[in-house]
Symmetry: C2
Subunit: 395 residues, 2 copies
Amino acid sequence: MGPGPITVDPRVLHAMSAQLVGQYDPFMTATMNEVMALYRGVFRTENEQTLLVDGTSRAGIEAALVSLLEPGDRVLVPVFGRFGHLLVEIAERCGAAVHTIEAEWGTVFTAEQIDEAMAQTRPKVLAVVQGDTSTTMCQPLADLGEIAHRHGALLYCDATASLGGNPFETDAWGLDVVTAGLQKCLGGPSGSAPITLSPAAVDVINARKHVEAGIATDSDRPRGARIASNYFDLAMVMDYWGPRRLNHHTEATSMLYAARECARLLLVEGIDDAVARHRLHGEAMLAGVRGLGLEVFGDTAHKMTNVVAVHIPDGIDGEAARTAMLEEFGIEIGTSFGPLAGRVWRIGTMGYNARHDAVLTTLAALEQVLRAGGAGVTAGGGVGAAREVYEEARA
Amino acid sequence: MGPGPITVDPRVLHAMSAQLVGQYDPFMTATMNEVMALYRGVFRTENEQTLLVDGTSRAGIEAALVSLLEPGDRVLVPVFGRFGHLLVEIAERCGAAVHTIEAEWGTVFTAEQIDEAMAQTRPKVLAVVQGDTSTTMCQPLADLGEIAHRHGALLYCDATASLGGNPFETDAWGLDVVTAGLQKCLGGPSGSAPITLSPAAVDVINARKHVEAGIATDSDRPRGARIASNYFDLAMVMDYWGPRRLNHHTEATSMLYAARECARLLLVEGIDDAVARHRLHGEAMLAGVRGLGLEVFGDTAHKMTNVVAVHIPDGIDGEAARTAMLEEFGIEIGTSFGPLAGRVWRIGTMGYNARHDAVLTTLAALEQVLRAGGAGVTAGGGVGAAREVYEEARA
């Protein structure tokens, strides 16, 4: 019940045990095409270029940024938690001129703040995290596409922690590039990074296409500044997923199967229903931790549905309590990073763990651990408050 | 029966369906430590820094090169096939000054040729492929560590296609960095890249360590030229796998389970026995294709055990024959790249496919397809020749 990676849906685990076929087997290429179509549904986009980067979520982030940004390009990153710092870090390594605005941990930005910073910095790319698990905050994105495009920029979003459990609209919100991972609300394992690219983003990237020696043909004349990574060169990755099927990496087939099953399960449930499920169990957990007398961290009006951060009560050893949760009850909860390390616990309700029994069991166990640690706690206060949320939802 | 990815060992598929635990769960960190120990056995090394890069084989290559090479550093790449070109390509994108020597496709280099080129170019890194599946050639490595070190260079090797099916000695041959993949002789899926680093290589990489903002502490003072990739920054990846457990990516746990099972199966079989198995079935396939009247490509004295390339006979449509093999018999064989595209077929006998029944079935099917395509072929010539190899081995 941590902030991810989380318990994987057993149907996804099962999907990964399917046998492999060759990388140009018609079944394989048809499966790749099917995955592209499924993730258009997940991202809510018409983008043709919707595919997987073979690596963890930060591989997706780096592929997006290194393919978009040339050395010297300006990028604006609104930072409201650890994963904003990660975007800065990756963009800097791309040689970009990185501008930041910072919000206090536990808050998000207004559209006006971002608009103003865009006017001042005039970047090529506005790069923002939707849900930053380090603070549990969910940055509103609906206005940012219009803002970015009005200032002549592309809008990139890291939706790893939020996608599938919080409202997300690639096309309606004007997002140009979005990357994600499977190990949060999608209920899968880490190791595959879905990505979608708007036609405008594709044009920017293809203007830098350099097909690698050994497979380039005479018509593959190099263009623009070569992308600084081979593995993350999305121009070549698109040629591998596209009709040309130009060999790049060898697609990680087991992870492809996992990604397919994650998307299939989400679309069968329905994205709106999946978001409602995350909201329900997130509200039950929020009420439950408050019912245990814990103080919630951050601006709950902008909290992600799928994770809550609570202040570790005075007198409780946070790490000892986490160990007791794991060793006595088999339940993992998380700590955080940077200014919040050792100050808060983060409890997730995401993907396969956004379940009634998982919420109540976690609250029941946490009550026992808090009591054993000497905290004042109302007997049944956590489970009772969560039950009320569930009863109201049924009414 | 292509040059990889190949049919995955069912025990590896099964291992991937195990449930995940949190990334700092004691079971998880113990499993990571176990994987490090297992791959020391696979690589035949005492290197402490033996771990996985979360991506396909070329992710491992790029992690090695981008972590070792600073812009302007000289690197020497002896190129004898497509994957030598890939090393050049990746090193160029690192900003390195890349020097090459080239061998005709189907041949390898003598130690003297490489020694001479080292003396002329005096690189920081000598980067070489062991087995290049594009040509099936296996470059002898035993003398290269001494040569590289005498010239003050580190020796990097891409052993993706060969490891586990051909003799390989990291420490005895003086290799500083080796990367591989699971999808060839190790019998696993693509998507995880085992890597091992000598203490000398670790020193070079740690001299460039920059812990990322958001998790760096005051004692993490940046050093040297920052590595141009965050995802492939092996200094940080080593801190994630090491006792500090400093968060980097979220380890791809299902692929970790796959990598563990691949190594476990290889070490239970015994590396020498696994190499002997690949040699036996490779010799049977070699005899078999000759028995079918096919001409073998390249210098068979330096062929990898686990793949053979044959010239497509005059009058046979190579792609139509590959399609018939797949559609009629469910057997995939490969074509090649660059100068060999459409000129040869490549037939693998590696990992789980290095089996008696797989060899004989492939030869029986190929005989039917060649005959249907109008090639002159001796009835039973392929299977018969392979049987003789097996009978001699039993004698």
